[in-house]
């Protein structure tokens, strides 16, 4: 049996915000529940109140704005993203990430907003979103504000959300027409396991050269992080084997992985060196395939 708590089913962001403020930090948002209820069942979390926000319609859905920005509601489940043709085709890195979260059952329940707000270094949707240059939209007592995803993460289980605020949307800015992207989760088991290392990349290309590189890592630091050194190295260059290898070395150097029972830090660094070139090749193959399909159409 779970500990006792008050349950709220708000219908608007304002109402949610008021409840959160009333309880100070003793209320938790309940969306998919795949983290919150597990922590409560284990006795690790004893909130006085749970705020089930699934009645907030404005937090749902995937849509394009006029400026070709993709907006993903925080309540969108991993399953919805996994089954979206748009995500599969245009945001392959995110598709790679959301398809590898937990298990079928977890993905049917867990939301992308929850995956970000749990703020674990291993969040499989976080590295792809960092690589795609995503921003988060936050709403609450102080009105709406926007943050780059990098600034949303302050530490393990620690986000930039102020009291009374919730994450409402994730926005992915328009990408260059030719872009190569992918995410790889390296884990011992395929399901219900955390990444030993996760590498996400998105290269925007101008001809053969990289006009913009974004590389992000999970389980490589206290939060999901960008590998800025490797990105700077690849910018303006062609994605040759030698350049990718060097980018892998640079990313491994700037990462700050830790030793845990799951894996040693040195092994994790080794993984970055291997996985970054590997995932880059996969992304380029994908892009080539998409191009030849477009030409056929």
């Amino acid at each position: 049996m779970l500990p006792q708590f008050e349950l709220y089913l708000p219908k608007s962001v304002e109402e949610t915000s008021e409840i959160l403020l009333t309880y100070n930090s003793n209320a938790r948002i309940y969306a998919g529940g795949t983290d919150v209820l597990v922590q409560m069942a284990k006795g690790q979390s004893k909130p006085e109140a749970l705020v089930d926000i699934k009645g907030l319609a404005e937090l749902r859905g995937i849509s394009y704005s006029a400026a070709k920005e993709l907006s993903i509601g925080a309540l969108t489940t991993h399953h919805e993203l996994e089954n979206s043709d748009l995500i599969k085709k245009k945001y392959a890195a995110l598709h790679d990430g959301v398809s590898r979260v937990g298990s079928v059952q977890t993905r049917n329940r867990g939301t992308i907003g929850g995956n970000l707000c749990s703020a674990l270094p291993s969040a499989d949707s976080a590295a792809p979103l960092l690589a795609l240059g995503a921003k988060v939209i936050i709403n609450g007592s102080g009105g709406e504000r926007e943050l780059p995803l990098e600034k949303f993460y302050l530490g393990i289980k620690h986000t930039a959300l102020e009291p009374g605020e919730i994450l409402t949307k994730i926005v992915i800015p328009a990408l260059a027409r030719h872009n190569a992207q992918a995410y790889i989760k390296f884990s011992r088991r395929n399901a219900m396991d955390l990444a030993l290392m996760g590498v996400a990349i998105c290269y925007e290309l101008d001809g053969l050269h990289v006009s913009k590189a974004r590389i992000a890592l999970t389980t490589a630091a206290p939060t999901p992080v960008r590998a800025y050194g490797a990105e700077a190295f690849l910018t303006g260059k062609a994605l040759t084997e030698a350049n990718l290898k060097e980018a892998g070395v640079l990313a491994a150097e700037e990462a700050k992985p830790r030793d845990s029972w799951r894996s040693g830090a040195e092994y994790r660094r080794g993984l970055i060196k291997v996985l970054l070139p590997r995932i880059s090749r996969l992304a380029l193959e994908r892009m080539g395939k998409a191009r030849s399909e477009n030409e056929r159409d």
């Binding site: 069942a41 079928v104 329940r109």
Partner: protein, 158 residues
């Protein structure tokens, strides 16, 4: 703590129930309705023994608040039988000898049913992905995969 009033479908029948807010869907299924097919394994959403279908899709009922069943359609393993006959998935599990100790089987069946609802003719890879959230400690996976494959080949409804 407030009590919550629920109206939902359970195995095709409309139900009304008032529950405390801190009970799980699993608890309601087993303790209020006495449907013991749905098992509690880990109690943390890891093992899949408590899998039921919510609006046709597999979910782990041990980490869902009962409150959420309101206005939804829940199906447990007891709901698979029709007119006193096993459905083709259940029959295939028997035919293929997919059941050893049996503890994981209700969850396996519900994940398999959820998979077939979405993808009636899955490949062997897709079947394995479909039951990735269900642990069988007898490690009878091959026969379970064979059974799901067989059921997906059989014609007929359900």
């Amino acid at each position: 703590m407030k009590e919550i009033e629920l109206r939902f479908r359970l195995n095709g029948e409309e139900q009304r129930l008032t529950v405390p807010s801190n009970v799980t869907l699993l608890h309601v299924i087993r303790e209020h309705f006495g449907l013991m097919g749905t098992k509690e394994g880990c109690g943390e959403g890891e093992c899949g023994a408590c899998t039921v279908l919510m609006d046709g899709r597999p979910v782990t009922s041990c980490i869902i608040l009962a409150e959420e069943a309101d206005r939804h359609d829940i199906m447990t393993v007891e709901g698979l039988m029709k007119d006193g006959k096993l459905n083709r998935l259940q029959q295939a599990f028997l035919d293929e000898g997919a059941v050893q100790c049996g503890y994981c089987i209700p969850g396996m069946l519900m994940s398999a049913q959820g998979l077939l609802n979405e993808n009636p003719h899955p490949t062997s890879q897709e079947i394995r992905k479909g039951i990735e959230g269900n642990i069988c400690r007898c490690t009878g996976y091959n026969r379970i995969v064979n059974a799901i494959h067989k059921a997906s080949q059989d014609e007929g409804d359900s």
